[in-house]
Symmetry: C2
Subunit: 232 residues, 2 copies
């Protein structure tokens, strides 16, 4: 035992953000192009250092606002996991706490702000991110896919008055499958607290076809029974 624990080692601690949304019918992630070494010119997940007086969750929320250019980020954020391989950053020892954010379709980041370098990209087109961010992104995608099964997470991908069909599109896009319309409707409406109807019809304009009832998110957070995707 040659290790002296009274002198504890020092680490830099960062947050990395996997902000997910649905854009153009594809699950999309917010990426930045790095302006400095290492990995200058390659894409990476947004993120930054945790400050001495804030929690990692606070740092994640702060960075999300800065990177999207929105004063308050309108989605749901949860911790994904922590990545701590000694060589994951070539400069120094960095431990990074990754967060996943789920948001409805957001405006394109505005030039002239911190968010200028940020842009949305379909997760199917993402390859060769800097650091270990390919791994982090893969973990985040697996997280969102499985959380759709047994939580009401899907409501975080649509804006407040939404239709059952909107919800179905979330499931179909994230899972890459198709679902039976009638059965999906019954399943959602049969789960108390998943959605609540708003007493007014919608989308009377522009579209063909009958107008749809609109809903808001309900109070439930977990689904009993779950909505299972096909066993593969």
């Amino acid at each position: 035992m040659t290790y002296d624990p009274t002198v504890y080692p020092q680490f830099a601690v960062t947050v990395d953000l996997v902000a997910l949304t649905l854009r153009n019918g594809a699950l999309s992630v917010l990426l930045v192009e790095r302006g400095e070494e290492p990995f200058r010119g390659t894409r990476a997940l947004p993120g930054g250092f945790v400050r001495p007086d804030e929690s990692a969750a606070d740092a994640a929320s702060r960075e999300l606002s800065e990177e999207t250019g929105l004063s308050i980020f309108p989605g749901y954020v949860e911790q994904l996991g922590t990545y701590s391989e000694p060589d994951r950053d070539p400069r120094m020892r960095v431990v990074s706490i990754a967060y996943v954010a789920f948001a409805p379709d957001l405006p394109e980041p505005v030039a002239g702000t911190d968010a200028a370098a940020a842009s949305w990209m379909s997760v199917d087109d993402v390859r060769d991110l800097g650091f270990d961010h390919d791994t982090i992104l893969a973990d985040a995608i697996e997280r969102v896919r499985s959380k759709l099964e047994y939580t009401t997470l899907a409501t975080n991908f649509v804006t407040d008055p939404f239709t059952i069909r909107d919800l179905q599109c979330v499931y179909e896009t994230v899972w890459g499958t198709t679902l039976d319309r009638a059965n999906f409707r019954r399943k959602v409406l049969g789960t108390t607290g998943f959605v609540e109807p708003v007493d007014g019809v919608t989308t009377a304009t522009g579209r063909r076809g009958r107008n749809a009832q609109v809903y808001r998110p309900g109070r439930a957070e977990s689904l009993h029974p779950p909505i299972l995707r096909a066993p593969m």
Copy 2:
């Protein structure tokens, strides 16, 4: 923007361990009694600093071996989450990565080693741990309860040749419920890859009643369909 990101702040990084096992028919956790401030004399989760050249997962495995006094820890370890509130350690800024370990019943930690101060305690009897360890333990218990539903985690709580009944006891103990014996058996055997039969009967000695077929863990890691506990 008065923050200078070129001078990144320094943190201490630790791992905290929630080692769970089944002892005397109760879900039990490994605890240590702290020998120094802060929280001297109170119980806490085992853990320690991450060293400069190891990942957090390596640190978790190393600490588990040291605290249990076993050269190799015979269970399954996974990351639980990271706890980073600025005031969670009164001495300094510490970010702690928590791990959960699931193990079959292990021998009592041996005196005269690092593990001397460690002991198993039923989670129902645990209160007032130091730091934020009550929160971490609660998160770990919720994790194990939900992972029983949709993964083969239960096999990590029993030693290699086990019976279906042994598995059922894991579920009943962790969930605090009772399950129908016949239906549980069919569910387990009907899930391909959950368990594999060993061609020999068992426990011919000591017990009353018919001898039970013994099984080993299968290759599957996830359960389709899941074994759902009652909706509460």
